[in-house]
Every structure is written in structure tokens, then in C-alpha cells.
């Protein structure tokens, strides 16, 4: 009962057919955990779901690079997550002919309690690589992330920049034929980011497919062949990147911004057994 089904003879890499997804609407959380809990019990925090994406239909052909253009909260991230399969649509279908690697929030998957080496195994494994493949590509990943010397150090002892590099390097090492990248969400130093985009371009020349959401218009114009323009959850146009960016200026950003705050997992391990 695998969640992600691959349809090899699809003809396109990813095909959305009227796909939509609704998520619980979350207000910005403030106050302590206790306060949040009280507010939830008091019914002040609604658990109602809102549509983040509706009736999205499009197909991405092999080798294409598609920009997903929209304001924050317009459903960009949800669209990418649906493409990768880390979200299941509530309406319509999403099919893919090969695994689509989600390159977003990878830093959140890294675990501080693991060593760098174990983290490489962990994240690469989550992205579907087999242990043998990981072992074979480990030196390459370590070199690209520049962590050869600290492979057996705990990740908690390393800097933020190292973690960002590590996550990227692992994702690129999957050698997958398709990636869903949320560029704005990748942390890293500028020169490393530039290096990343160089690698991505190389892969593109090699026929790899990309879906990209980035807040930097220059990256999109330089890199993408065409664009999907999103306005509060609806694809309003499929056009060129430049045109999409122009028309984005005419769309007002949503007023009631919905924020996603990643909560720290609470590690209360007080177990009493009787």
C-alpha cells in the first residue's frame, strides 16, 4: 500500500487532473504552548479546513522546467508537495511517471541527535534511496556539502549553513529525473546557492525535469521555460515566465495571510506504565 504510485507510461512527468487540497487553516500562533492549548479548548482556534489549491490541471513534459509563480499563501508550496506526493489531493488526481524529489523543508528532516553520516543515510533513505546506493554516493555527497572532515560529528554541533548544504547535496545525489524545488525555503550562503543553481542547470541540460517556486524573479527568468501563475489557489494562467511575473504585480497579495509555523516536536518522554 505504497502512497506514491508511479505510472511509467504516463507520457508526462507529472500530470495534475483537477487536483485540489484543503488544509486546516491556522492563524499565526503566539503565546506559550499552554496558552495555545487553552485557546484551542475555548474554541478560539478554528480547525476548519480551507482550500489551498483547487482544480489544478496541467502536465509537465520531460526535460521541462516550470516556474510556479504566485504570492505567499497562493498554494505554491501545496502544489509542489502534491507533485512530489508528500500530500494527497482531496479532489482530482496527481500522477507521475517517475519519483519527484521534494527539495523543500529538507533541513527539517535532518536530526540533531544523529551524526552527519547517519543524517545522510536518514534523509537519502526518506527520499527513496537504497542503502547500497547511499553508501556508493556518500563520498560525493560529503564532498559537495564539504563535510568530509565532520562526517562522524553530531549534527547539532554544526552550523546552520552546513545543514543547508547537506540537505541540498543529498537531494541532488538522488539522481532522480524530476525535482520539486521551493527555492525560497532552502537555506544557505549566497555562493553556495549559486553553486546549487549551476548544478541544477547542468542537470536540466541533461533532460531532468524541474518544478520551481522561488521568491527571486531573476532565478525563475534565467532558469525556467514556462510558468504557472497562481492566484489564491487557482491556476489563472499558463504562460511565459516574464508574462507571469508581470501579471503577478497586478494580483493583490492575500490580506488574511495564513502562516505556517513549524512547531518543535515536544519530547516529553514521561512514561508511566501502570
Amino acid at each position: 500500500m505504497a502512497r506514491i504510485v508511479i505510472t511509467p507510461d504516463l507520457g508526462s512527468v507529472v500530470a495534475f487532473d483537477g487536483a485540489g487540497v484543503r488544509l486546516p487553516k491556522r492563524e499565526r500562533r503566539h503565546g506559550s504552548k499552554r496558552k495555545q492549548r487553552i485557546r484551542r479548548i475555548a474554541g478560539e482556534v478554528s480547525r476548519e479546513e480551507v482550500w489551498f489549491l483547487r482544480e489544478a490541471s496541467f502536465a509537465v513534459t520531460p526535460g521541462e522546467s516550470v516556474a510556479v509563480v504566485g504570492h505567499q499563501g497562493s498554494g505554491r508550496e501545496q502544489l509542489l508537495r502534491l507533485a512530489a506526493g508528500t500530500l494527497i489531493p482531496d479532489e482530482g488526481t496527481v500522477r507521475r511517471s517517475c519519483p519527484v524529489i521534494p527539495v523543500m523543508n529538507l533541513g527539517g528532516a535532518l536530526s540533531r541527535g544523529y551524526t552527519v553520516r547517519q543524517n545522510i543515510y536518514l534523509v537519502a533513505g526518506l527520499l527513496g534511496m537504497l542503502p547500497d546506493e547511499i553508501a556508493a554516493r556518500l563520498p560525493a555527497i560529503a564532498e559537495r556539502a564539504n563535510v568530509q572532515k565532520i562526517l562522524d560529528k553530531y549534527l547539532g554541533d554544526t552550523s546552520r549553513a552546513v545543514r543547508g548544504r547537506l540537505a541540498w547535496s543529498i537531494a541532488m545525489a538522488t539522481e532522480a529525473r524530476a525535482f520539486a524545488i521551493a527555492g525560497a525555503l532552502v537555506v544557505g550562503q549566497p555562493d553556495f546557492m549559486r553553486e546549487c543553481w549551476d548544478i541544477v542547470e547542468e542537470m536540466k541540460a541533461d533532460g531532468v525535469t524541474f518544478l520551481v517556486a522561488s521568491d527571486k524573479p531573476s532565478e525563475l527568468i534565467r532558469f525556467c521555460d514556462r510558468a504557472l501563475l497562481l492566484d489564491s489557489g487557482t491556476i489563472v494562467a499558463q504562460t511565459t515566465v516574464a508574462d507571469a511575473l508581470d501579471r503577478l504585480k497586478l494580483i493583490e497579495p492575500p490580506k488574511d495571510q495564513v502562516h505556517f509555523i513549524v512547531e518543535e516536536s515536544d519530547d516529553d518522554d514521561d512514561e508511566d506504565l501502570v
Binding site: P24, D90, P102, A109, G128, V262, L273
Partner: protein, 248 residues
């Protein structure tokens, strides 16, 4: 992948404390001794369970430990692994299996407690010991089903983890851990058999007390409940899977 996570979890468990592995033995053994003292020394004359009581207790306490530990961490599994779940392309059930296998390994590693109790009481198992692994398999299936059910509902009801904890405490006294199913008055015994844990516990114990065999009707009922729970858990999980991913 699963193997990596399981090994890593066990490693953390056993390197975190100075006594490491020994805790796996000491904890349940200590508990068995306390309960044995209370129920067989202090409350002496009224005989509960079967003799020797210390062995009778430890055989049930270890699986019980596995059960509560497993189920209560399954109730929080998706909350805890949110970061990984967000990017994981692997089947979602893997997270439940991981907890289940880790706690099962701990259970298996704690089995020497039973050997200690056997030596202390000088009682040896009969040929029905072959049913012991079957008990493990059955408990595995039961916990997998229940884990799928609880872990997915815990996403919808955030306070489920707390509720589970209370229910577990009640379950401890409602389950034949301290006593045998044959201690229950015949009139309400069929209801007691609705408890899915009755069957695996019976399979564990029957090697030492073949007379437990007489309760095979109750075991059969309990076995059926185990399987029903598995089916319900499987389908609930499938239905709630989109929800789990949304909360990630």
C-alpha cells in the same frame, strides 16, 4: 531504511544511561518483584493467579510493558517525526512499524527476566513453549493494527495521547496480568475475553500452565478481536492518511 531507524533508536536507548542494557532487565524485574510482594506476601492467603506467582507475573509483565510502551509512543509518532514525514517518499506506515519493532526488540532483549524467574522458582516450561513465538506474532499483529488506528486518530484528536495513557492504566487491571482468566467468575468471563490481549498472554503462559488450556474459548474470542482490530486499523489508516500528511 526501517532497519537504520530501528538500530539508531536502540543505540540511543542503550547508550543514554550508564547501565544501558541492564535497565531493560531491571525495570520489569523490579516491577514484577514489587507486585509479587504485594499480591503474594501482603495479601497472602487469597491466592491470585497461578503458582509460582513470581514467574506467572513476569511472563505477563514483559509483554504488557511492550504493549503500553509501544501503544503510547505510537499515539505521538506523527507529532514527533513531523520534520521527516514532510519530505518522506516512503510508505507512511513505516513510522508506526518503526516504533513497533523497536519496542519489540526491547521486549525480546528483556526475556532473560523470565529465565531469572524460572531459575528462582525452579519451574521449567513444557513442550507448549513452541506457542511462545506465536504469542509474539499475535501481539505484533494486534499492536500493528491498534497502532495504525491510534496513530492516525491522534492526528485528528490532538489529546488522544493523554486519553490513551489513562485507558492503558485501566487496561492493566482489566487484563489478566496479575491474575489468570480462570480467576474471573464464569458469568463475566466471556466479556473479559473481549480484551484482545487475553489471547497472546494465554499463548505465553500455556507452556508453564497447560491447565490454562481450559480457557481456549476465551482465547479464540480474543484472537478474533485481535484480527478485527487489525482490519479496522488498516482501513482507518488508509482513510486518514491524507490528513496525517496535511498535519505534517
Amino acid at each position: 531504511m526501517l532497519r537504520l531507524l530501528v538500530l539508531r533508536d536502540l543505540q540511543t536507548q542503550y547508550t543514554k544511561f550508564r547501565l544501558g542494557y541492564l535497565w531493560t532487565i531491571i525495570e520489569p524485574l523490579g516491577m514484577a518483584i514489587v507486585l509479587w510482594f504485594v499480591f503474594s506476601m501482603l495479601l497472602g492467603p487469597r491466592k491470585l493467579g497461578l503458582q509460582p506467582y513470581l514467574l506467572f507475573l513476569s511472563i505477563a509483565i514483559l509483554p504488557w510493558w511492550w504493549f503500553t510502551k509501544g501503544i503510547s509512543s505510537m499515539a505521538r509518532v506523527f507529532q514527533k517525526n513531523r520534520g521527516q514525514l514532510r519530505v518522506s517518499l516512503l510508505p507512511t506506515q513505516m513510522w508506526v512499524l518503526r516504533v513497533l519493532i523497536v519496542t519489540m526488540m526491547e521486549f525480546i532483549l528483556s526475556l532473560p527476566v523470565i529465565v531469572v524467574a524460572m531459575v528462582l522458582t525452579r519451574s521449567w516450561p513444557g513442550p507448549l513453549i513452541v506457542l511462545f513465538p506465536l504469542g509474539i506474532a499475535l501481539q505484533f499483529i494486534l499492536m500493528y493494527g491498534l497502532g495504525l488506528l491510534i496513530s492516525s486518530w491522534a492526528v485528528v484528536i490532538p489529546d488522544l495521547a493523554r486519553i490513551v495513557r489513562i485507558v492503558m492504566r485501566a487496561m492493566f487491571y482489566l487484563t489478566p496480568v496479575l491474575y489468570s482468566i480462570s480467576n474471573i467468575p464464569p458469568g463475566i468471563r466471556p466479556y473479559a475475553a473481549l480484551n484482545p490481549l487475553v489471547a497472546p498472554l494465554g499463548l505465553y503462559r500455556v507452556a508453564w500452565w497447560p491447565e490454562e488450556h481450559e480457557s481456549s474459548f476465551e482465547f479464540a474470542v480474543s484472537l478474533a478481536i485481535c484480527l478485527i482490530i487489525f482490519v479496522i486499523g488498516y482501513f482507518t489508516f488508509r482513510r486518514l492518511e491524507p490528513r496525517i500528511l496535511k498535519e505534517a
